[in-house]
Subunit: 182 residues, 2 copies
């Protein structure tokens, strides 16, 4: 994953990968039949981990609490796996059509978790969201963006950053006073 992130899938050879993990080039084929399968397995493992970890969060029933849980979880999970997140976005174009479909399906399953929270909040009158699917994409893009600038040991801790983003997400989806509108 580190090699793919640093050099790009197309530029990395199986020989290089073997060298990085410390096996003979030939022995690598005991673990994976080819580079495409290796890329797919890495991306699928990342998405499986993401879905399993989110399930383990056992999000609260209340949509506002569930949304906070999701926002904090997404930031934490992704900042811990910067290489995997970068590769998962960047190398979609290098997946075979069949592999792409599987990864896209898993990604949609994850997005559906957030969309479901938003729709429940709307149904309960807690959220004011006209297009839950679009808000889902917007919130995920915003939260994943933490990876482009956050570095451990800076002025703000990760929990501080989570709180700032959660505050923005909450305000973006909850009803506002009439005075602010239009």
């Amino acid at each position: 994953m580190r090699l793919f992130a640093r050099e790009g899938y197309a530029a990395v050879s199986m020989r290089q990968i073997a060298g990085e993990v410390g096996v003979q080039a030939g022995a690598l084929y005991n673990y994976t039949p080819d580079k495409q399968t290796l890329l797919f397995d890495l991306m699928k493992a990342h998405m499986d981990d993401l879905l399993t970890a989110w399930e383990a969060e056992a999000a609260p029933e209340h949509p506002l609490e569930a949304l906070e849980r999701f926002a904090r979880f997404h930031i934490r999970f992704n900042t811990e796996r910067a290489d995997a997140v970068f590769v998962s976005y960047m190398e979609l174009r290098n997946l075979s059509p069949k592999n792409f479909e599987v990864i896209e399906g898993l990604r949609r399953r994850y997005e559906d978790q957030l969309e479901h929270i938003l729709r429940r909040g709307v149904a309960l009158g807690l959220f004011d969201v006209a297009e839950p699917k679009i808000t889902t994409m917007a919130v995920i893009a915003m939260l994943t963006g933490v990876n482009t600038w956050f570095r451990d040991g800076g002025r703000l801790s990760l929990p501080d950053v989570e709180t700032i983003y959660w505050d923005m997400v909450r305000r973006a989806v909850t009803p506002e006073p009439a005075a602010n509108r239009g």
Copy 2:
């Protein structure tokens, strides 16, 4: 730019680029000394275009109006240049340190435009933003994310999408009723 976006900088040869633009491999060197310079020139031209186009918007004085102008502009500019946006993000790692510094400087100049709008809005009591730099990064990530899903000819037009995102941005930065807090 299209070749770099589709195959990745490292995987594309000068010969391929020459073929794509319809010149002899040798003739390409009349236009650029090497692939690194070509990547840098493409990324720099993209950032220069972005800064020039934003300047031409002549954003209104009022921070709320300026922020709306920025949100709509950013979405419009980036969706029209999906390849350039993708390459600009993905190939940062392939820039030489000196070239990276130039591109990062231009990117910061663009981010500063938004941060300046946010700080003016805070100073006038129009915005409630504790960390303008972080909100800048969050808003830009959210808006750029439109590129990952928007396709022309879908149910929503680009102006519709702009309005939905602007609404989220506005709510995320404007003061909220006391009842929503905590």
